[in-house]
Symmetry: C2
Subunit: 332 residues, 2 copies
């Protein structure tokens, strides 16, 4: 009994320390997802991987937000229907449930609102919601899934985007070495990595990159101290608000798994983390990191890679004779 | 002891019946893969899913031989680099280790010889073996994988194609309802399905579609009784042998999982199984199946869908600063 009480006390103290450690840092550990509807997740996973939601039958959500590659396509700007060049870098889907809003300009309030966008975007999946629903309703196994999950007699786009968003809520990446350190494992980081974290805080990076996602929770101007010469026509938040003051304001990207989500910035112009840190320092903070400082910040950033989503490759239900066949080479 | 002996005897009799049942049918059950190098499979799986083996960084083996969709892209002819239209229907990768040779015209002797083709084909992944090796050698985690699996100090294309082929050897689909029936589960098929199998045999389909893969083991002319009007310029086996007699000879496709591998034929012109059965009957056998017969053959064919490959979605190792970045929109 005494031993048991001591153990309990010891756990209580450890717990308190952990809570203290995390609470006193401007970055919080990623929490595993809660309140998840597993039936909806399984349906959403299939939809996420299903290229039949595109006009060509070739492009799925996973094409540009590839879960084998940090939830991105690792290309400066994405490839859309007919090999169209996208206007902006595909942001990672990992931890996107933590974002204040979706898309670089925040034009979608949440994951559900985002999910319908690319399907109907002529430069991306180039389909329409009506045509996508027609495909889904022609596939008996999908109809059964939707009926089971939503209990309605008709598939609508609301259900499609809800299911995709529910799957995306599971795509968080806890257990990074940095989070282990936050949670009390003091040897989880090397001296250089800790020094990089200190530089990250002391130099001001932390002003925008903070919280659970180390970003994603505010809009900021790209090019505060010096102007950014972008490879992209995107002007960010002003496209949503109509305010000239919001030009070149973009959602601060999460730095979780940033080692995997190259190339960087809304135009994908920075190929390496070292380059991104250098540009951010000069343009946003008016600070030129030395080579040694830069390497330490990069070493810290690489500790933010968490456990990647781990799941069985989904098997999609086959089309029926009634399913419209994609015509990827048809001109309009 | 007596009970144990009786059980043993009973198993022995069942075993004998099973062997008998399978041995007397022209189709044999799919066997699980043997002699598999698991380290090589894990490496090959990553390579199979890695779009960095393409010029664009967008197309992987899985793009056109999608393991969520019966190992095909379900498009008449595939989409290649810069949205080029492929000349032929992508055959399923499922059970392809059972094929007498690879590609519709059999120009590759085996899976290893096949795997290098699409990477360097200007109309498909549009890369070169040298450039692909440069990418792999710049990624430390890949170099470690290759060293561990092959024990050499340099990555070469031989290793890449061997690993992909080893993964593909695992992509067999045992346990279809038809195989359960072959193995003695007499209620695995309905009356209509059995009637369809009898029609399949009695009408002559079985002459070409037989063996473990229900096809894949011979080359045959497309259009024996009447000529086939193809949507494709492909002339098949003659491109390999140079013999005029081999024009329009193609490898007989496997019918395993044929429910999932639509559209059908080397030009992908048949959208449904019913259409494919009708065309095959008329052109290859001079037989017009009635609507009822056609439905029964189709019902039989759908019993050939086996257990789909089941594995965790692979997580790819990130590029390093030294990895050349893809330029999907660059003109040559």
């Amino acid at each position: 009994m005494t031993k048991f009480k001591l153990l309990t006390l010891s756990f209580a103290i450890t717990g308190a320390c952990v809570a203290w450690a995390a609470a006193n840092e401007p970055i919080q550990p990623v929490k595993p997802p809660a309140n998840i509807n597993l039936g909806m997740v399984e349906l959403g996973k299939k939809l996420y991987f299903d290229p039949r939601l595109s006009k060509s039958g070739f492009i799925s959500c996973n094409s540009c937000h590839n879960l084998s590659m940090g939830g991105t396509d690792n290309i400066a700007t994405s490839i859309g229907d007919q090999w169209q060049q996208g206007p902006i870098n595909a942001p990672t889907v990992l931890n996107s449930s933590l974002n204040v809003a979706q898309f670089w300009d925040g034009r979608a309030a949440d994951l559900k609102a985002q999910a319908g966008g690319p399907i109907a975007n002529p430069g991306e999946m180039a389909f329409t919601h009506t045509l996508a629903l027609g495909v889904l309703e022609s596939i008996p196994a999908y109809v059964r899934d939707f009926t089971q999950v939503f209990g309605k007699d008709k598939v609508d786009i609301e259900q499609v985007t809800l299911a995709i968003a529910e799957f995306e809520k599971t795509l968080v990446t806890p257990n990074s070495r940095f989070d282990q350190w936050l949670l009390g494992k003091k040897d989880a980081l090397t001296g250089d990595e800790l020094a990089g974290y200190k530089l990250f805080k002391d130099s001001g990076c932390i002003a925008c990159h903070n919280g659970e996602a180390v970003g994603g929770n505010s809009f900021q101007k790209m090019g505060i101290v010096s102007a950014y010469k972008a490879n992209s026509p995107a002007e960010g938040r002003s496209a949503v608000t109509g305010k000239d003051a919001d030009r070149f304001n973009f959602k601060v990207p999460t730095l979780r798994n940033v080692e995997l989500t190259y190339p960087y910035f809304h135009d994908g112009a920075a190929n390496t983390l070292g380059e991104a840190v250098d540009t951010m320092g000069r343009l946003q903070l008016g600070k030129t990191f030395t080579k040694d400082e830069n390497a330490k910040v990069v070493a810290f950033l690489k500790t933010l890679t968490g456990d990647q989503p781990s799941f069985m490759m989904p098997i999609l239900p086959p089309s029926s004779d009634a399913t419209p066949r994609p015509k990827p080479f048809a001109k309009k």
